[in-house]
């Protein structure tokens, strides 16, 4: 009886609160990550040599630094130069920049897989470079990159659990509080793990539906 009461009053509401914070972290980070990925990926393929170098430098840094270290820099480091971010903003910033670095490599690979003939045809029709990217290569690259980008989004869902390290208390953070209050580590984190599994399953299903919707003859994903 006591257990049940503990569950209802404390655990459920804490987990719901944490779940909501997690989703609020994941959704914008995934969107910004994709946008950054497309921009950096496109610059890495279509930029001049200086721009290409900047793009690959971006990837090198944001893929190379441990994510926790990046979060610490945004949250604890920036105040030294007078910039104070809330834990939530620092987390979204860190996740977006890191996710963007990974996404950009999927997008870059997809841009490179498009035969140069199509870019020549677009140029021969008078397309400017930016219009060529927007209307000819990006729609194709996005389709080709989607399985990889989806993979990165699934991964992002799980590394969002690092946000509590900079005091943005999301699902894992709430779990840690519950666990250390109650000393029920195993039960708590089993439940937390199951909730992440649920989120990734829903995300995988949504991504699969998106892939299916964007499927065109010649762009089939063989499953």
């Amino acid at each position: 009886m006591e257990n049940l009461f503990f569950l209802q009053s404390e655990v459920v509401s804490a987990l719901v609160k944490g779940f909501i914070v997690s989703v609020k972290l994941i959704v914008p980070s995934a969107i910004f990550g994709c946008i950054i990925g497309v921009v950096i990926g496109a610059l890495g393929v279509y930029g001049n040599s200086i721009v290409k170098r900047i793009a690959s430098g971006y990837v090198l840094i944001f893929r190379g630094f441990p994510l926790v270290v990046q979060l610490f820099i945004w949250y604890f480091g920036l105040p030294y130069i007078g910039i104070y971010l809330t834990p939530f903003v620092a987390a979204v910033l860190g996740f977006s920049l890191c996710s963007g670095a990974y996404q950009s490599e999927y997008i870059r690979g997809a841009f490179l897989s498009i035969k140069t003939g199509q870019t020549m045809a677009a140029q021969a029709l008078g397309f400017s470079r930016i219009k060529m990217i927007l209307f000819v290569t990006l729609p194709q690259a996005f389709r080709r990159a989607l399985p990889g980008c989806g993979n990165e989004i699934i991964y992002l869902i799980k590394y969002s659990s690092l946000a509590y390290m900079i005091t943005c208390i999301e699902l894992t953070g709430e779990g840690k509080i519950i666990a250390s209050d109650s000393f029920r580590y195993t039960e708590t984190f089993m439940v937390i793990g199951a909730i992440y599994l649920l989120i990734t399953s829903v995300a995988a299903w949504l991504l699969h539906r998106l892939e299916h919707r964007l499927q065109l003859p010649g762009f089939e994903q063989y499953t």
Binding site: L125, S128, Q140, P217
Partner: protein, 255 residues
């Protein structure tokens, strides 16, 4: 049909790839309504020459005038405007894979010419009808045969109302039984008075249609003249050798 106004003038086009000079001082003038055919061995510079003409390959040297106006290569906007007037047909079609036949033809009208979608759609359907593919307009490139893809690419180029068309071996990537449907379309466009520069090995078809043959070898224009002269009474031994081989292979008359 042919008046003497030079529509396109190319002077001293030169292109190096590393130490290899793939195009050597190639010059060509073409009048309105003319068809000039580039012949010569593969690797002789035909493709490079055509691609230099609309700057898909950046020539190291050379000047181009369209309608008497020199094209300044440094001005991107000017290049893009110029390219709209120079239609290009590629050996391997280069349709946009994510768009239907109709949208392949329509996209540049909307995105480059800024036409409204309805008007562009009508124009695209008309061009597809002209190449006999109106009923295929909702098919994607992956669902079309090589010959159909090439006809779509011709429709795509024609929709831009080009002043001149460049055709880079338009039938070389096709199965033999699909070649004639593409040649028929080219013949039809030609009889509409379109100015064209075409590279091809279809020597019979070319000699029936061309005003002039241009023989290119090792990046140089070796010899220029009417088809019958180049094919049978060429000045240079190398031209004669090439022409006798190619007529043997492809026949000297298409029909």
């Amino acid at each position: 049909m042919v008046d003497t106004l030079p529509i396109l003038r190319i002077e001293n086009m030169t292109k190096w790839y590393g130490d290899n000079e793939v195009l050597k001082d190639a010059s060509l003038t073409i009048n309105k309504g003319e068809l000039k055919v580039l012949i010569g061995p593969s690797g002789g510079g035909k493709s490079t020459f055509l691609q230099c003409i609309n700057f898909l390959v950046k020539p190291d040297r050379g000047r181009i005038w369209l309608d008497g106006k020199e094209i300044i290569r440094a001005r991107k906007k000017e290049i893009n405007d110029y390219r709209q007037k120079v239609g290009m047909i590629f050996q391997d079609f280069n349709l946009f894979d994510h768009l239907t036949a109709l949208h392949n033809v329509r996209i540049a009208l909307v995105r480059v010419k800024g036409m409204n979608k309805g008007e562009a759609q009508e124009r695209a359907i008309r061009e597809l009808d002209r190449v006999g593919l109106k009923s295929y307009m909702n098919q994607y490139p992956a669902e079309l045969s090589g010959g159909q893809k090439q006809r779509v690419s011709i429709a795509r180029a024609l929709a831009m109302d080009p002043e001149i068309m460049l055709l880079d071996e338009p039938t070389s990537a096709l199965d033999p039984e699909l070649i004639s449907e593409v040649l028929d379309v080219i013949r039809d466009v030609r009889s509409g008075g379109m100015t064209m520069i075409m590279s091809t090995h279809q020597i019979g078809f070319a000699s029936e249609m061309a005003d002039e043959f241009v023989f290119l070898e090792d990046g140089s224009i070796v010899e220029t003249g009417p088809p019958e002269k180049i094919l049978y009474k060429a000045q240079y031994a190398r031209t004669r050798e090439f022409c006798s081989k190619i007529t043997e292979l492809y026949g000297n008359s298409f029909s």
